[in-house]
Protein backbone atom coordinates (compact mmCIF):
# COMPACT_ATOMS: atom_id res chain seq x y z
CA UNK A 1 0.00 0.00 0.00
CA UNK A 2 1.26 3.42 -0.92
CA UNK A 3 1.45 5.78 2.01
CA UNK A 4 0.81 9.49 1.46
CA UNK A 5 1.89 12.09 3.98
CA UNK A 6 2.30 15.84 4.26
CA UNK A 7 5.93 16.32 5.27
CA UNK A 8 8.48 19.01 5.90
CA UNK A 9 11.41 18.67 3.50
CA UNK A 10 14.15 18.04 6.03
CA UNK A 11 12.16 15.37 7.83
CA UNK A 12 11.17 13.73 4.58
CA UNK A 13 14.85 13.57 3.55
CA UNK A 14 15.71 11.80 6.80
CA UNK A 15 12.83 9.36 6.41
CA UNK A 16 13.85 8.62 2.83
CA UNK A 17 17.35 7.77 4.03
CA UNK A 18 16.00 5.36 6.61
CA UNK A 19 13.62 3.75 4.10
CA UNK A 20 16.56 3.51 1.70
CA UNK A 21 18.37 1.42 4.28
CA UNK A 22 20.64 3.92 6.04
CA UNK A 23 21.41 2.68 9.53
CA UNK A 24 24.26 5.03 10.45
CA UNK A 25 24.00 8.79 10.63
CA UNK A 26 26.58 11.28 11.89
CA UNK A 27 25.69 14.96 12.00
CA UNK A 28 26.55 18.38 13.32
CA UNK A 29 23.89 21.07 13.71
CA UNK A 30 23.72 23.70 10.98
CA UNK A 31 20.75 25.68 9.68
CA UNK A 32 18.78 25.17 7.41
CA UNK A 33 19.11 21.39 7.83
CA UNK A 34 18.77 20.94 11.60
CA UNK A 35 15.49 19.06 11.28
CA UNK A 36 17.32 16.28 9.42
CA UNK A 37 19.73 15.78 12.33
CA UNK A 38 16.92 16.03 14.88
CA UNK A 39 14.73 13.61 12.93
CA UNK A 40 17.54 11.07 12.67
CA UNK A 41 18.25 11.29 16.40
CA UNK A 42 14.59 10.46 17.11
CA UNK A 43 13.84 7.95 14.40
CA UNK A 44 16.98 6.04 13.46
CA UNK A 45 17.16 4.04 16.74
CA UNK A 46 13.57 2.86 16.08
CA UNK A 47 14.84 1.13 12.94
CA UNK A 48 17.82 -0.51 14.68
CA UNK A 49 20.15 2.24 13.47
CA UNK A 50 22.78 4.41 15.14
CA UNK A 51 22.71 8.18 15.47
CA UNK A 52 25.65 10.20 16.69
CA UNK A 53 26.05 13.95 17.03
CA UNK A 54 29.65 14.56 16.02
CA UNK A 55 31.89 17.30 17.42
CA UNK A 56 32.29 18.87 13.96
CA UNK A 57 31.56 18.22 10.30
CA UNK A 58 35.16 17.11 9.98
CA UNK A 59 34.53 14.41 12.56
CA UNK A 60 31.12 13.55 11.08
CA UNK A 61 32.49 12.80 7.61
CA UNK A 62 35.34 10.78 9.07
CA UNK A 63 32.91 8.78 11.20
CA UNK A 64 30.98 8.16 7.99
CA UNK A 65 34.26 7.10 6.37
CA UNK A 66 34.86 4.56 9.14
CA UNK A 67 31.29 3.24 9.16
CA UNK A 68 31.26 2.90 5.38
CA UNK A 69 34.66 1.18 5.34
CA UNK A 70 33.18 -1.21 7.90
CA UNK A 71 30.37 -2.04 5.47
CA UNK A 72 27.56 0.06 6.98
CA UNK A 73 24.95 1.96 4.96
CA UNK A 74 25.68 5.56 5.87
CA UNK A 75 23.79 8.84 5.47
CA UNK A 76 25.05 12.27 6.47
CA UNK A 77 23.74 15.78 5.98
CA UNK A 78 24.98 19.32 6.29
CA UNK A 79 24.74 22.76 4.75
CA UNK A 80 27.25 24.74 2.71
CA UNK A 81 29.93 25.79 5.26
CA UNK A 82 29.66 22.37 6.88
CA UNK A 83 30.07 20.69 3.51
CA UNK A 84 33.25 22.74 3.03
CA UNK A 85 34.65 21.10 6.17
CA UNK A 86 33.69 17.68 4.83
CA UNK A 87 35.74 17.98 1.67
CA UNK A 88 38.75 16.19 3.18
CA UNK A 89 36.59 13.16 3.92
CA UNK A 90 34.76 13.22 0.59
CA UNK A 91 38.05 13.12 -1.30
CA UNK A 92 39.11 10.28 1.02
CA UNK A 93 35.87 8.35 0.47
CA UNK A 94 36.18 8.65 -3.30
CA UNK A 95 39.76 7.41 -3.05
CA UNK A 96 39.03 4.41 -0.82
CA UNK A 97 35.96 3.77 -3.02
CA UNK A 98 33.44 3.66 -0.20
CA UNK A 99 29.74 4.49 -0.67
CA UNK A 100 27.90 7.15 1.31
CA UNK A 101 24.94 9.43 0.61
CA UNK A 102 25.49 13.07 1.55
CA UNK A 103 22.70 15.64 1.68
CA UNK A 104 23.68 19.28 1.26
CA UNK A 105 20.84 21.67 2.11
CA UNK A 106 22.50 24.64 0.46
CA UNK A 107 22.50 28.18 1.87
CA UNK A 108 23.95 31.58 1.00
CA UNK A 109 27.72 32.10 0.88
CA UNK A 110 30.65 32.75 0.74
CA UNK A 111 32.01 32.55 4.27
CA UNK A 112 29.47 32.04 7.00
CA UNK A 113 27.03 33.73 4.64
CA UNK A 114 23.46 33.33 5.78
CA UNK A 115 20.77 30.71 6.22
CA UNK A 116 18.64 31.60 3.18
CA UNK A 117 18.48 29.19 0.22
CA UNK A 118 21.35 29.29 -2.27
CA UNK A 119 22.90 27.44 -5.19
CA UNK A 120 26.40 28.86 -4.97
CA UNK A 121 27.77 25.47 -3.91
CA UNK A 122 27.55 24.34 -7.53
CA UNK A 123 31.32 24.48 -7.94
CA UNK A 124 31.87 22.98 -4.50
CA UNK A 125 29.76 19.92 -5.29
CA UNK A 126 30.48 19.40 -8.99
CA UNK A 127 34.12 20.42 -9.26
CA UNK A 128 35.40 18.31 -6.38
CA UNK A 129 35.83 20.68 -3.44
CA UNK A 130 38.49 18.39 -2.01
CA UNK A 131 41.98 17.61 -3.24
CA UNK A 132 42.92 15.38 -6.12
CA UNK A 133 41.20 13.72 -9.05
CA UNK A 134 37.70 12.57 -8.16
CA UNK A 135 34.02 13.34 -8.66
CA UNK A 136 30.95 13.18 -6.53
CA UNK A 137 27.80 11.92 -8.21
CA UNK A 138 25.40 14.82 -7.71
CA UNK A 139 21.60 14.88 -7.86
CA UNK A 140 19.52 18.08 -7.74
CA UNK A 141 15.90 17.58 -6.63
CA UNK A 142 13.20 20.15 -7.40
CA UNK A 143 10.54 18.82 -5.01
CA UNK A 144 10.45 16.99 -1.72
CA UNK A 145 9.13 13.87 -3.45
CA UNK A 146 11.93 13.94 -5.97
CA UNK A 147 14.50 14.42 -3.19
CA UNK A 148 13.15 11.36 -1.38
CA UNK A 149 13.33 9.25 -4.51
CA UNK A 150 16.85 10.49 -5.27
CA UNK A 151 18.03 9.69 -1.74
CA UNK A 152 16.69 6.13 -1.96
CA UNK A 153 18.18 5.63 -5.42
CA UNK A 154 21.34 7.37 -4.22
CA UNK A 155 22.20 4.46 -1.93
CA UNK A 156 21.97 1.99 -4.82
CA UNK A 157 24.12 4.22 -7.00
CA UNK A 158 26.68 4.86 -4.24
CA UNK A 159 26.99 1.08 -3.79
CA UNK A 160 27.14 0.39 -7.52
CA UNK A 161 29.85 3.00 -8.15
CA UNK A 162 31.49 2.66 -4.69
CA UNK A 163 31.59 6.46 -4.56
CA UNK A 164 29.92 9.19 -2.53
CA UNK A 165 26.59 10.43 -3.89
CA UNK A 166 25.53 13.97 -3.04
CA UNK A 167 21.99 15.33 -3.01
CA UNK A 168 22.10 19.09 -3.66
CA UNK A 169 18.90 20.44 -2.12
CA UNK A 170 18.48 23.97 -0.87
CA UNK A 171 17.09 25.71 2.19
CA UNK A 172 13.73 26.25 0.54
CA UNK A 173 13.19 22.53 -0.12
CA UNK A 174 14.37 21.73 3.38
CA UNK A 175 11.98 24.12 5.09
CA UNK A 176 8.77 23.82 3.06
CA UNK A 177 6.03 21.19 3.32
CA UNK A 178 4.63 19.08 0.48
CA UNK A 179 2.54 15.95 0.15
CA UNK A 180 4.68 12.91 -0.59
CA UNK A 181 4.27 9.23 -1.36
CA UNK A 182 6.66 7.26 0.83
CA UNK A 183 9.18 5.02 -0.88
CA UNK A 184 8.37 1.35 -0.32
CA UNK A 185 9.90 -0.45 2.64
CA UNK A 186 9.87 -3.97 1.31
CA UNK A 187 13.64 -4.42 1.10
CA UNK A 188 15.64 -5.88 3.94
CA UNK A 189 18.80 -4.09 4.97
CA UNK A 190 20.37 -6.33 7.60
CA UNK A 191 24.10 -5.82 8.08
CA UNK A 192 24.85 -9.49 7.37
CA UNK A 193 23.07 -9.25 4.05
CA UNK A 194 24.81 -6.02 3.11
CA UNK A 195 28.23 -7.35 4.12
CA UNK A 196 27.83 -10.26 1.69
CA UNK A 197 27.87 -7.71 -1.11
CA UNK A 198 30.94 -5.92 0.28
CA UNK A 199 33.83 -8.39 0.45
CA UNK A 200 36.22 -5.45 0.83
CA UNK A 201 34.68 -4.23 4.10
CA UNK A 202 36.51 -4.17 7.41
CA UNK A 203 35.03 -6.86 9.63
CA UNK A 204 38.10 -8.57 11.09
CA UNK A 205 39.50 -11.38 8.96
CA UNK A 206 38.26 -14.08 11.41
CA UNK A 207 41.29 -16.14 10.33
CA UNK A 208 39.23 -17.07 7.26
CA UNK A 209 40.53 -14.71 4.61
CA UNK A 210 43.49 -12.45 3.85
CA UNK A 211 43.36 -9.20 5.78
CA UNK A 212 41.45 -6.34 4.14
CA UNK A 213 43.40 -3.12 3.79
CA UNK A 214 41.57 0.06 2.80
CA UNK A 215 43.98 2.71 1.67
CA UNK A 216 44.36 5.95 -0.16
CA UNK A 217 48.12 6.34 0.13
CA UNK A 218 50.08 5.27 -2.94
CA UNK A 219 53.60 6.51 -2.41
CA UNK A 220 54.78 5.18 -5.79
CA UNK A 221 53.53 7.54 -8.46
CA UNK A 222 52.91 4.71 -10.96
CA UNK A 223 50.57 3.05 -8.48
CA UNK A 224 48.67 6.23 -7.66
CA UNK A 225 48.18 6.94 -11.36
CA UNK A 226 46.92 3.39 -11.85
CA UNK A 227 44.54 3.81 -8.89
CA UNK A 228 43.15 7.10 -10.25
CA UNK A 229 42.70 5.61 -13.73
CA UNK A 230 40.74 2.73 -12.19
CA UNK A 231 38.44 5.17 -10.39
CA UNK A 232 37.96 7.14 -13.59
CA UNK A 233 36.83 4.02 -15.44
CA UNK A 234 33.83 4.13 -13.11
CA UNK A 235 33.34 7.82 -13.87
CA UNK A 236 33.38 7.08 -17.62
CA UNK A 237 30.59 4.62 -16.98
CA UNK A 238 28.72 7.14 -14.85
CA UNK A 239 28.89 9.70 -17.66
CA UNK A 240 27.20 7.18 -19.96
CA UNK A 241 24.64 5.83 -17.50
CA UNK A 242 23.61 8.54 -15.08
CA UNK A 243 22.92 11.92 -16.71
CA UNK A 244 19.30 12.80 -16.16
CA UNK A 245 17.16 15.83 -16.96
CA UNK A 246 13.64 17.08 -17.56
CA UNK A 247 12.80 19.08 -20.68
CA UNK A 248 9.80 21.35 -21.08
CA UNK A 249 8.47 22.91 -24.29
CA UNK A 250 11.74 22.91 -26.24
CA UNK A 251 9.82 22.75 -29.53
CA UNK A 252 9.48 26.19 -31.14
CA UNK A 253 11.03 27.88 -28.09
CA UNK A 254 12.65 31.23 -28.68
CA UNK A 255 14.48 31.15 -25.37
CA UNK A 256 15.57 28.05 -23.44
CA UNK A 257 16.18 28.32 -19.71
CA UNK A 258 18.48 26.02 -17.80
CA UNK A 259 17.68 25.78 -14.11
CA UNK A 260 17.91 23.17 -11.34
CA UNK A 261 16.28 22.66 -7.97
CA UNK A 262 13.77 25.15 -6.62
CA UNK A 263 14.87 27.76 -9.17
CA UNK A 264 13.41 25.57 -11.90
CA UNK A 265 9.98 25.92 -10.24
CA UNK A 266 10.20 29.71 -10.43
CA UNK A 267 11.24 29.41 -14.06
CA UNK A 268 8.25 27.20 -14.86
CA UNK A 269 5.92 29.84 -13.46
CA UNK A 270 7.72 32.57 -15.40
CA UNK A 271 7.28 30.49 -18.57
CA UNK A 272 3.50 30.52 -18.08
CA UNK A 273 3.51 34.29 -17.64
CA UNK A 274 5.62 34.72 -20.77
CA UNK A 275 3.34 32.42 -22.78
CA UNK A 276 0.52 34.86 -22.03
CA UNK A 277 2.69 37.62 -23.45
CA UNK A 278 3.31 35.55 -26.58
CA UNK A 279 6.95 34.69 -25.80
CA UNK A 280 7.74 31.00 -26.39
CA UNK A 281 10.20 29.59 -23.87
CA UNK A 282 11.50 26.16 -22.96
CA UNK A 283 13.36 24.64 -20.03
CA UNK A 284 16.12 22.13 -19.49
CA UNK A 285 16.24 21.04 -15.86
CA UNK A 286 19.32 19.00 -14.97
CA UNK A 287 18.44 16.36 -12.40
CA UNK A 288 22.07 15.32 -12.21
CA UNK A 289 24.65 18.09 -11.84
CA UNK A 290 27.50 15.60 -12.18
CA UNK A 291 27.48 13.99 -14.62
CA UNK A 292 25.94 17.05 -16.29
CA UNK A 293 23.29 16.07 -18.87
CA UNK A 294 25.03 17.52 -21.93
CA UNK A 295 22.88 15.51 -24.35
CA UNK A 296 19.86 17.51 -23.17
CA UNK A 297 21.15 20.40 -25.26
CA UNK A 298 20.91 18.36 -28.46
CA UNK A 299 17.15 18.69 -28.07
CA UNK A 300 17.20 22.46 -28.47
CA UNK A 301 15.10 23.50 -31.46
CA UNK A 302 16.30 25.56 -34.46
CA UNK A 303 13.85 28.23 -33.33
CA UNK A 304 15.93 28.98 -30.23
CA UNK A 305 17.99 32.16 -30.27
CA UNK A 306 19.32 32.22 -26.76
CA UNK A 307 19.95 30.02 -23.74
CA UNK A 308 19.58 31.51 -20.25
CA UNK A 309 21.10 29.97 -17.15
CA UNK A 310 18.96 30.78 -14.09
CA UNK A 311 20.83 30.33 -10.85
CA UNK A 312 20.97 31.45 -7.23
CA UNK A 313 24.68 32.23 -7.59
CA UNK A 314 26.88 34.58 -9.57
CA UNK A 315 26.79 32.06 -12.41
CA UNK A 316 28.40 28.69 -11.80
CA UNK A 317 26.31 26.14 -13.69
CA UNK A 318 26.56 28.49 -16.67
CA UNK A 319 30.05 27.04 -17.29
CA UNK A 320 28.54 23.61 -17.89
CA UNK A 321 25.81 25.13 -20.04
CA UNK A 322 28.44 26.75 -22.26
CA UNK A 323 30.50 23.56 -22.41
CA UNK A 324 27.40 21.66 -23.46
CA UNK A 325 26.45 24.17 -26.16
CA UNK A 326 29.99 24.38 -27.55
CA UNK A 327 29.39 27.94 -28.76
CA UNK A 328 26.29 27.09 -30.80
CA UNK A 329 24.13 29.72 -29.10
CA UNK A 330 24.62 32.84 -26.97
CA UNK A 331 24.24 32.19 -23.24
CA UNK A 332 22.94 34.72 -20.71
CA UNK A 333 22.52 34.66 -16.97
CA UNK A 334 19.51 35.53 -14.84
CA UNK A 335 20.48 35.24 -11.22
CA UNK A 336 20.27 36.38 -7.64
CA UNK A 337 22.71 35.50 -4.91
CA UNK A 338 23.44 35.89 -1.20
CA UNK A 339 20.25 34.08 -0.25
CA UNK A 340 17.95 36.20 -2.47
CA UNK A 341 15.38 34.30 -4.53
CA UNK A 342 14.46 34.70 -8.17
CA UNK A 343 10.74 35.39 -8.39
CA UNK A 344 8.78 34.50 -11.52
CA UNK A 345 8.09 38.24 -11.98
CA UNK A 346 11.76 39.12 -11.94
CA UNK A 347 12.57 36.32 -14.38
CA UNK A 348 9.89 37.65 -16.79
CA UNK A 349 11.12 41.21 -16.51
CA UNK A 350 14.78 40.32 -17.05
CA UNK A 351 13.91 37.99 -19.92
CA UNK A 352 11.99 40.72 -21.73
CA UNK A 353 15.05 42.95 -21.43
CA UNK A 354 17.20 40.28 -23.04
CA UNK A 355 14.96 40.03 -26.09
Amino acid sequence: MEERRLMKGNEAFGLAAILGGARYYFGYPITPQNEVTEFMSRELPNYGGFFLQAESELAAINMAYGASAAGGRVFISSSSPGLALMQEGLSGLASIEAPVVVLNVMRGGPGIGNIQPGQADYYQVTRGGGNGDYHLIVFAPASIQEAMDMIVEGFEIADRYTNPVLIAADGMLGQMMEPVTLPSMDKEYSLEKILKTKPWALTGHKNKRERNVIKSVYLKQELLEEHVLKIFEKYDKAVKELPSFEEVDLKDAEIVYVAFGTTSRMVKEAMELLKEKGVKTGLIRPKTLWPFPREAFDGIDKSTKMVVSCELSMGQMIDDVKLSLKGRLPVSLINRTGGMLLTPGEIVERTLKLL
Binding site: Y24, F26, F50, L52, A54, E55, S56, L58, A59, A60, N62, M63, A64, Y65, G66, A67, S68, A69, A70, G71, G72, V74, E88, G89, G92, I96, L191, L202, T203, G204, H205, K206, N207, K208, R211, N212, V213, I214, K215, S216, V217
Partner: protein, 248 residues
Protein backbone atom coordinates in the same frame (compact mmCIF):
# COMPACT_ATOMS: atom_id res chain seq x y z
CA UNK B 1 63.56 -28.83 21.49
CA UNK B 2 61.16 -26.11 22.44
CA UNK B 3 61.09 -22.76 20.71
CA UNK B 4 61.37 -19.99 23.29
CA UNK B 5 60.64 -17.14 20.87
CA UNK B 6 58.76 -17.20 17.61
CA UNK B 7 57.94 -14.63 14.99
CA UNK B 8 54.82 -12.77 16.09
CA UNK B 9 51.90 -14.20 14.15
CA UNK B 10 50.23 -10.83 13.86
CA UNK B 11 53.29 -9.32 12.17
CA UNK B 12 53.67 -10.00 8.47
CA UNK B 13 57.00 -11.43 7.38
CA UNK B 14 58.23 -8.20 5.88
CA UNK B 15 61.01 -5.68 6.43
CA UNK B 16 59.69 -2.37 7.73
CA UNK B 17 60.48 1.03 6.25
CA UNK B 18 61.28 2.51 9.65
CA UNK B 19 64.70 4.02 10.32
CA UNK B 20 67.26 1.95 12.23
CA UNK B 21 66.53 2.13 15.95
CA UNK B 22 63.01 3.54 15.53
CA UNK B 23 60.59 2.31 18.19
CA UNK B 24 57.52 2.18 15.92
CA UNK B 25 58.40 -1.46 15.21
CA UNK B 26 58.43 -2.36 18.92
CA UNK B 27 55.02 -0.75 19.47
CA UNK B 28 53.60 -2.59 16.44
CA UNK B 29 54.86 -5.90 17.76
CA UNK B 30 53.48 -5.37 21.26
CA UNK B 31 50.00 -4.70 19.92
CA UNK B 32 50.08 -7.71 17.63
CA UNK B 33 51.51 -9.97 20.37
CA UNK B 34 48.70 -9.06 22.72
CA UNK B 35 46.05 -9.67 20.05
CA UNK B 36 47.71 -12.97 19.17
CA UNK B 37 47.81 -14.09 22.80
CA UNK B 38 44.15 -13.16 23.21
CA UNK B 39 43.35 -15.06 20.00
CA UNK B 40 41.75 -11.92 18.59
CA UNK B 41 43.78 -11.14 15.45
CA UNK B 42 40.75 -12.18 13.43
CA UNK B 43 38.49 -9.76 15.30
CA UNK B 44 40.82 -6.77 15.14
CA UNK B 45 40.38 -3.65 13.00
CA UNK B 46 43.19 -1.10 13.09
CA UNK B 47 43.36 2.48 11.90
CA UNK B 48 46.72 3.79 10.77
CA UNK B 49 47.43 7.52 10.92
CA UNK B 50 49.20 10.05 8.76
CA UNK B 51 52.78 9.99 9.92
CA UNK B 52 55.66 7.53 9.67
CA UNK B 53 53.33 4.69 10.63
CA UNK B 54 50.88 5.35 7.80
CA UNK B 55 51.96 2.01 6.33
CA UNK B 56 51.47 0.10 9.60
CA UNK B 57 48.98 -2.04 7.67
CA UNK B 58 51.88 -3.43 5.66
CA UNK B 59 53.18 -5.03 8.84
CA UNK B 60 50.15 -5.76 11.02
CA UNK B 61 48.25 -8.79 9.79
CA UNK B 62 44.76 -7.56 10.64
CA UNK B 63 42.04 -5.63 8.80
CA UNK B 64 43.14 -2.01 8.55
CA UNK B 65 42.21 1.35 7.11
CA UNK B 66 44.16 4.57 6.66
CA UNK B 67 42.65 7.71 8.15
CA UNK B 68 43.26 11.32 7.13
CA UNK B 69 45.66 13.27 9.34
CA UNK B 70 44.33 13.28 12.91
CA UNK B 71 40.96 11.71 12.13
CA UNK B 72 41.65 8.15 13.27
CA UNK B 73 39.45 8.45 16.41
CA UNK B 74 36.49 9.59 14.29
CA UNK B 75 37.08 6.75 11.82
CA UNK B 76 37.32 4.27 14.72
CA UNK B 77 34.06 5.67 16.11
CA UNK B 78 32.31 4.90 12.82
CA UNK B 79 33.78 1.39 12.63
CA UNK B 80 32.88 0.58 16.22
CA UNK B 81 29.24 1.56 15.57
CA UNK B 82 29.06 -1.02 12.80
CA UNK B 83 31.05 -3.75 14.60
CA UNK B 84 30.59 -3.21 18.34
CA UNK B 85 32.33 -6.49 19.19
CA UNK B 86 35.43 -5.97 17.06
CA UNK B 87 38.77 -5.11 18.68
CA UNK B 88 39.22 -1.65 17.23
CA UNK B 89 42.38 0.38 17.76
CA UNK B 90 43.91 3.58 16.46
CA UNK B 91 47.66 3.97 16.20
CA UNK B 92 48.71 7.63 16.12
CA UNK B 93 51.77 9.85 16.34
CA UNK B 94 51.97 13.05 18.35
CA UNK B 95 51.41 15.41 15.43
CA UNK B 96 48.46 13.32 14.30
CA UNK B 97 46.84 12.94 17.72
CA UNK B 98 47.84 15.97 19.76
CA UNK B 99 47.91 18.65 17.07
CA UNK B 100 45.67 18.30 14.02
CA UNK B 101 43.57 15.58 15.66
CA UNK B 102 43.20 17.08 19.13
CA UNK B 103 39.46 17.59 18.79
CA UNK B 104 38.83 14.06 17.56
CA UNK B 105 40.80 12.36 20.36
CA UNK B 106 39.30 14.52 23.11
CA UNK B 107 35.76 13.91 21.90
CA UNK B 108 36.34 10.17 21.52
CA UNK B 109 37.44 10.18 25.16
CA UNK B 110 34.50 12.38 26.19
CA UNK B 111 32.09 9.92 24.60
CA UNK B 112 33.87 7.02 26.26
CA UNK B 113 34.28 5.35 22.87
CA UNK B 114 34.95 1.66 23.33
CA UNK B 115 38.16 1.37 21.36
CA UNK B 116 41.87 1.62 22.19
CA UNK B 117 44.24 4.36 21.15
CA UNK B 118 47.97 3.74 21.02
CA UNK B 119 49.77 7.04 21.02
CA UNK B 120 53.39 7.25 19.88
CA UNK B 121 54.98 10.27 21.50
CA UNK B 122 58.41 10.88 19.97
CA UNK B 123 58.37 14.65 20.60
CA UNK B 124 58.78 15.47 16.91
CA UNK B 125 57.21 15.22 13.46
CA UNK B 126 59.01 12.24 12.00
CA UNK B 127 57.57 11.81 8.53
CA UNK B 128 57.81 15.42 7.41
CA UNK B 129 61.42 15.69 8.54
CA UNK B 130 61.73 16.85 12.13
CA UNK B 131 59.47 19.86 12.70
CA UNK B 132 58.14 20.84 16.12
CA UNK B 133 55.40 18.60 17.49
CA UNK B 134 52.89 19.58 20.19
CA UNK B 135 54.94 17.31 22.47
CA UNK B 136 58.32 18.88 21.63
CA UNK B 137 60.09 19.77 24.89
CA UNK B 138 60.93 23.29 25.96
CA UNK B 139 64.30 24.16 24.47
CA UNK B 140 64.25 21.16 22.09
CA UNK B 141 65.67 21.96 18.68
CA UNK B 142 63.63 21.04 15.64
CA UNK B 143 63.61 22.31 12.06
CA UNK B 144 60.90 24.85 12.96
CA UNK B 145 62.41 25.74 16.36
CA UNK B 146 66.07 25.97 15.43
CA UNK B 147 66.91 27.91 18.59
CA UNK B 148 64.95 25.46 20.72
CA UNK B 149 61.22 25.52 21.52
CA UNK B 150 60.38 28.78 23.23
CA UNK B 151 57.14 28.51 25.24
CA UNK B 152 56.58 32.26 24.88
CA UNK B 153 56.33 31.76 21.11
CA UNK B 154 55.09 28.23 20.62
CA UNK B 155 53.62 27.11 23.91
CA UNK B 156 54.29 24.14 26.13
CA UNK B 157 54.28 20.40 25.47
CA UNK B 158 50.89 18.69 25.28
CA UNK B 159 50.53 16.25 28.15
CA UNK B 160 47.87 13.96 26.77
CA UNK B 161 47.58 11.41 29.58
CA UNK B 162 47.22 14.18 32.14
CA UNK B 163 44.55 15.87 29.99
CA UNK B 164 42.55 12.81 28.98
CA UNK B 165 42.57 11.27 32.45
CA UNK B 166 40.38 14.19 33.57
CA UNK B 167 37.58 12.91 31.37
CA UNK B 168 35.08 10.43 32.72
CA UNK B 169 34.85 8.47 29.48
CA UNK B 170 38.59 7.74 29.40
CA UNK B 171 38.60 4.84 31.87
CA UNK B 172 42.07 3.51 31.21
CA UNK B 173 45.01 5.89 30.76
CA UNK B 174 48.63 4.86 31.05
CA UNK B 175 51.97 6.21 29.89
CA UNK B 176 54.75 3.75 29.19
CA UNK B 177 58.22 3.99 27.67
CA UNK B 178 59.88 1.88 25.02
CA UNK B 179 63.44 2.47 26.20
CA UNK B 180 64.39 -0.71 28.07
CA UNK B 181 63.40 -4.38 28.13
CA UNK B 182 61.76 -3.89 31.54
CA UNK B 183 59.76 -0.89 30.33
CA UNK B 184 58.79 -2.69 27.15
CA UNK B 185 57.39 -5.56 29.22
CA UNK B 186 55.36 -3.02 31.20
CA UNK B 187 54.21 -1.45 27.96
CA UNK B 188 52.93 -4.80 26.76
CA UNK B 189 50.95 -5.22 29.96
CA UNK B 190 49.41 -1.80 29.35
CA UNK B 191 48.38 -2.80 25.83
CA UNK B 192 46.86 -5.95 27.21
CA UNK B 193 44.86 -4.01 29.82
CA UNK B 194 43.69 -1.54 27.18
CA UNK B 195 42.24 -4.37 25.09
CA UNK B 196 40.67 -5.89 28.18
CA UNK B 197 38.93 -2.58 28.85
CA UNK B 198 37.57 -2.69 25.33
CA UNK B 199 36.58 -6.35 25.60
CA UNK B 200 34.59 -5.55 28.73
CA UNK B 201 33.15 -2.44 27.02
CA UNK B 202 34.13 -0.23 29.95
CA UNK B 203 35.05 2.88 27.97
CA UNK B 204 37.94 4.55 26.21
CA UNK B 205 41.44 3.12 26.71
CA UNK B 206 44.55 5.19 26.02
CA UNK B 207 48.19 4.14 26.10
CA UNK B 208 50.95 6.66 25.43
CA UNK B 209 54.33 5.23 24.42
CA UNK B 210 57.36 7.43 24.98
CA UNK B 211 59.29 6.70 21.81
CA UNK B 212 62.41 7.77 19.98
CA UNK B 213 63.09 9.27 16.58
CA UNK B 214 66.86 8.94 16.30
CA UNK B 215 66.98 10.30 12.76
CA UNK B 216 65.24 13.58 13.46
CA UNK B 217 66.68 13.97 16.95
CA UNK B 218 70.12 13.68 15.34
CA UNK B 219 71.19 11.01 17.83
CA UNK B 220 72.38 7.43 17.59
CA UNK B 221 69.64 5.05 18.79
CA UNK B 222 71.44 4.27 22.07
CA UNK B 223 71.90 8.00 22.79
CA UNK B 224 68.29 8.61 21.85
CA UNK B 225 67.21 6.05 24.48
CA UNK B 226 69.25 7.97 27.03
CA UNK B 227 67.78 11.29 25.90
CA UNK B 228 64.28 9.87 26.33
CA UNK B 229 65.02 8.75 29.89
CA UNK B 230 66.80 11.95 30.88
CA UNK B 231 64.55 14.53 29.26
CA UNK B 232 61.17 13.16 28.23
CA UNK B 233 60.38 11.25 31.39
CA UNK B 234 60.56 14.40 33.47
CA UNK B 235 57.89 16.17 31.42
CA UNK B 236 55.95 13.00 30.62
CA UNK B 237 56.07 10.88 33.79
CA UNK B 238 55.67 7.18 33.11
CA UNK B 239 52.72 5.99 35.17
CA UNK B 240 49.26 4.60 35.23
CA UNK B 241 46.79 7.46 35.47
CA UNK B 242 43.58 5.49 35.50
CA UNK B 243 42.62 1.83 35.61
CA UNK B 244 39.12 0.51 36.19
CA UNK B 245 38.55 -1.93 39.05
CA UNK B 246 37.39 -4.60 36.62
CA UNK B 247 40.86 -4.80 35.04
CA UNK B 248 43.91 -6.14 36.89
Amino acid sequence: MRAIFEYTKGMRDQETHYCPGCTHGIAHRLIMEVLEEKGKLGEAIGISPVGCSILAHQYMDVDMVEAAHGRAPAVATGIKRVHPDAYVFTYQGDGDLASIGMAEIVHAALRGEKFCTFFINNAIYGMTGGQMAPTTLEGQKTTTTVMGRDPAVSGNPAVMCEMLSQLKGAVYVERVALNSPANIRKAKKAVSRAFEVQEKKLGFAFVEFLSICPINWGLAPSDAMKWLAENMMEVFPVKQFKNPLEVK
